[in-house]
């Protein structure tokens, strides 16, 4: 296999694996801030117990997120050196900003969050939790800004020619607020909230089914349900905004997402289907006529650009983009359904008696994880064959000094190590869940015990 395919496979694999963890950190961050905030306000020790339990899970996801995240930062240089030379002036600034504004904040206050319970006063601890959560979101800001620049480049000009050509910044704020960054950032962050909050719902529902930690679990589910209800509905809005933006800025991607081959008004919106790229048709599909045009332009008369109007060597693969996009949308709607149903039963006061609903909750944790992954596949594969849309092809971005054997070997090693990590992560997470939150009596007696020791000393 050639270097380009291998380098792409390696990037896809390492980023997909990495992206299991940051959304959990961002989402759990919001959950922890809510729980600890409630604790500060009400002084109800139940909230303290909840916060402490989720902090432990957070620490686990954070560690793997950091370890797999450094890989991503270095991989631009190892596998995509030509890309790095070309865009470093623009893209590098966003990465450096992420380091200085987000990572220091996050990792610094993480120390207090995890180890500082007895070292600082409760308000200071809450402040640390808040800062960790903010840091995780700042990190999303800069990464999504960097990626959005690759989707809809702005605020730069090309200097030099041939091998010496490269992109240089002309306007930093135009780069930061490029046409897709705000919509995509909101979409990514609320996707992360869903990932974290549905993990909480899933674990708490499992406890309820097993009739353990009842008070803890009911309260956890209520807090997380409020978050997912807001986030899943917000996804509908940000998703729509993103699609309108894609139509304007990346017509080839939108055409692939809905398998539009010829320019057309009254373009249909598929619910599902299987794209035959050879014959340019959608098999086994069900579609709402005119809906795509309506959603994009507010009228069925809206013209949608088809793939045939785009030069053949600038078209992305269609079926994979179509499938991943439709899977994301389907899961998105399912999550809205689960959230609203949950809220409804909560309002009726019957939520915790419905076993089937609790089982849906247990498995709901997979929903946002899969949707986040396929959403990114839509975004990244839909941008192909470009690495920077309309500016630089992916094939032009690879490292010239690296041979396929090296990439193949590192890809195999990453696969083995990451599989091993994933198994360990599930094993340890399962252990934490089985163990459950620390018993309050034990905790407080331990605390009293230590306090008495201090007094003696």
């Amino acid at each position: 296999m050639d270097v380009e395919i291998l380098a792409r496979l390696q990037f896809a694999f390492t980023i997909a694996f990495h992206y299991i963890y940051p959304p959990l950190s961002i989402g759990l961050g919001v959950v922890m801030v809510t729980m600890e905030g409630l604790y500060l306000k009400t002084k109800n020790p139940l909230y303290e117990k909840m916060t402490k339990f989720w902090v432990k899970v957070f620490a686990l996801t954070f560690a793997i997120g950091v370890a797999t995240g450094i890989v991503m930062e270095f991989e631009f240089g190892t596998n995509w050196a030509s890309y790095s030379r070309y865009v470093g002036d623009v893209f590098g600034s966003a990465l450096a900003a992420e380091g200085i504004f987000a990572f220091f904040l996050e990792s610094g206050f993480l120390a207090i969050l995890v180890f500082g319970w007895d070292k600082v006063k409760p308000p200071m601890h809450f402040f640390a939790t808040l800062m960790v959560s903010l840091g995780a979101m700042f990190s999303a800001v800069w990464i999504v800004v960097a990626n959005s620049w690759m989707q809809t480049p702005a605020g730069f000009h090309i200097v030099g020619e041939g091998l010496n050509a490269r992109a240089e910044i002309t306007d930093f704020w135009e780069l930061v607020f490029n046409p897709s960054s705000v919509d995509r950032l909101l979409h990514v962050v609320s996707g992360a909230w869903l990932a974290g909050a549905f993990l909480v719902i899933s674990v708490a529902a499992y406890y309820l089914i097993k009739k353990r930690h009842l008070e803890f679990s009911k309260s956890s589910i209520k807090i997380a349900l409020v978050i997912v209800c807001f986030a899943s509905l917000f996804q509908l809005f940000t998703g729509h905004q993103s699609a309108v933006g894609i139509n304007k800025n990346q017509p080839a991607k939108l055409a692939a997402m809905e398998a539009v081959f010829d320019d057309q008004k009254n373009a249909p919106l598929y619910l599902f289907g299987w794209v035959n790229e050879e014959n340019q048709e959608v098999n086994f599909g069900i579609a709402i006529p005119g809906m795509l045009s309506y959603l994009i332009g507010g009228t069925q008369e809206q013209n949608v650009t088809g793939l045939n109007s785009i030069p053949e060597d600038e078209r992305p693969p269609v079926n994979i983009v179509f499938q991943s996009y439709h899977l994301m949308v389907a899961i998105g709607f399912a999550l809205i359904g689960i959230s609203l149903l949950g809220i409804f039963f909560w309002w009726r006061g019957t939520l915790f008696e419905k076993k089937w609903m609790l089982w849906i909750f247990v498995f709901s944790v997979l929903g946002p994880q899969i949707a986040n992954q396929v959403g990114w596949i839509t975004a990244e594969v839909g941008r192909q064959p470009w690495i920077v849309y309309g500016i630089l092809k992916t094939s032009e971005g690879i490292s010239k000094a690296v041979e396929s054997g090296q990439v193949l070997f590192s890809l195999i090693m990453f696969t083995i190590i990451y599989l091993f990590l994933f198994i360990l992560f599930i094993y340890l997470l399962n252990g934490k869940i089985k163990h459950g939150p620390e018993d309050l009596d034990k905790l407080s007696s331990e605390y009293e015990h230590q306090k008495s020791l201090f007094k003696k000393a």
């Binding site: 596998n79 050196a81 030509s82 990465l95 120390a111 319970w117 910044i169 090693m413």
Partner: protein, 342 residues
């Protein structure tokens, strides 16, 4: 030598400062990682690990930010070095992964084999990270073959030779010494007494390595001293470095561990400053064909970007110092094991 403090020079120094910050901070936790396997029992290992527990990932952020800043300020250096040193960087990444998960996973289970496995992983990873960093720096001293298109034109195995391995071992010794001093600061009783002995041994080990590596540099890579010859006042840095090293055993014997730690930190900073003066204004020296060297000018981003980044850095740095000082202040004193510990 003439130094004009233009944007490119400022960024050369800033990235040097980030890497010094990294070497000083992650240096001691790498050192603790190399030593913790050799303490008496599981309880002592836990004390060692928890001495760096709250701070190690913050320390690693200095490397991440340094990498990001290098990408942004000198994209050609980032691209050439990372793709040219491919196998070494990938190995470094694997070790960083193992280290991060080892510290997180080890105390999660009681089984002896489980803890032993992660302790060994943590130890080997800490050692290899230090060694690889030293080898990478040594290759910047010896110079690497670079082609006319700024691409690395050598073979991976040529990066490993007696000189580069020597500098790698020196780095290992330096971090061991630094980690042992930190350990003395954070422990008490019998463990502390033993660590105090290790400080003395590691100082001797480091000084032997350092003198040997310096002699080798003077004999085989005299281009490293040109800037010192041109501006003799710079020799003061080397002098201060020696004084800082000599001060460590003095402070340790007087029981002033914090001062010993600062001396050791100062000597790390001075060593990197000597290195930086030696290579300036090159960042990656091309050997042979020195005209293809990547300098702070031909490998840099545009002035506009360097300016924007400088503003970002000036806004960010006070916060970074504030967090770092706060965290170290809150977690000052001897290590106590509690229910949230590793």
């Amino acid at each position: 030598m003439e130094i004009t403090f233009d944007l490119n020079t400022i960024w050369f120094l800033l990235i040097g400062a980030l890497l010094s910050g990294y070497a000083i901070l992650d240096g001691f936790d790498l050192g603790v990682g190399m030593l913790h396997l050799f303490v008496k029992d599981d309880k002592e290992r836990r004390i060692m690990i928890n001495s760096i527990g709250p701070v190690w990932d913050g320390n690693e952020v200095w490397l991440v930010t340094g990498g990001g800043a290098l990408f942004a300020a000198f994209p050609d250096v980032y691209a050439t070095v990372f793709s040219g040193f491919y196998n070494a960087i990938i190995l470094l990444l694997f070790m960083l992964i193992f280290r991060a998960v080892a510290i997180e996973f080890r105390s999660k289970r009681q089984m002896k084999w489980w803890r032993q496995m992660w302790d060994v992983a943590f130890n080997v990873a800490s050692f290899l990270i230090a060694l690889l960093m030293g080898i990478a720096l040594a290759n910047i001293i010896t110079g690497i073959p670079i082609g006319p298109e700024k691409e690395f034109a050598g073979k991976f195995l040529s990066l490993i030779n007696p000189y580069t391995v020597m500098v790698g071992i020196t780095t290992v010794a330096l971090f061991m010494m630094h980690g042992a001093i930190y350990g003395v600061m954070k422990t008490e009783g019998e463990l502390q007494t033993r660590l105090r002995g290790w400080v003395n041994n590691s100082i001797i080990f480091f000084v032997i390595c350092y003198v040997t590596a310096t002699m080798a540099t003077l004999i085989y890579y005299p281009h490293m001293v040109e800037n010192f010859r041109a501006a003799p006042v710079l020799f003061l840095v080397a002098l201060l470095n020696m004084l800082a090293i000599a001060n460590i055993p003095r402070e340790i014997s007087r029981g002033k561990e914090l001062k010993a730690f600062f001396s050791s930190a100062a000597s790390i900073a001075a060593l990197l400053l000597i290195f930086a003066i030696g290579i300036f204004p090159n960042i990656v020296y091309s050997n042979p064909n020195s005209e293809y060297s990547l300098t702070i000018y031909n490998a840099a981003s545009s002035d506009k970007t360097l300016n924007i980044m400088l503003i970002i850095a000036l806004i960010g740095i006070p916060f970074v110092f504030a967090y770092t000082i706060t965290i170290y202040w809150i977690f000052r004193g001897k290590v106590k094991i509690d229910e949230m510990s590793y």
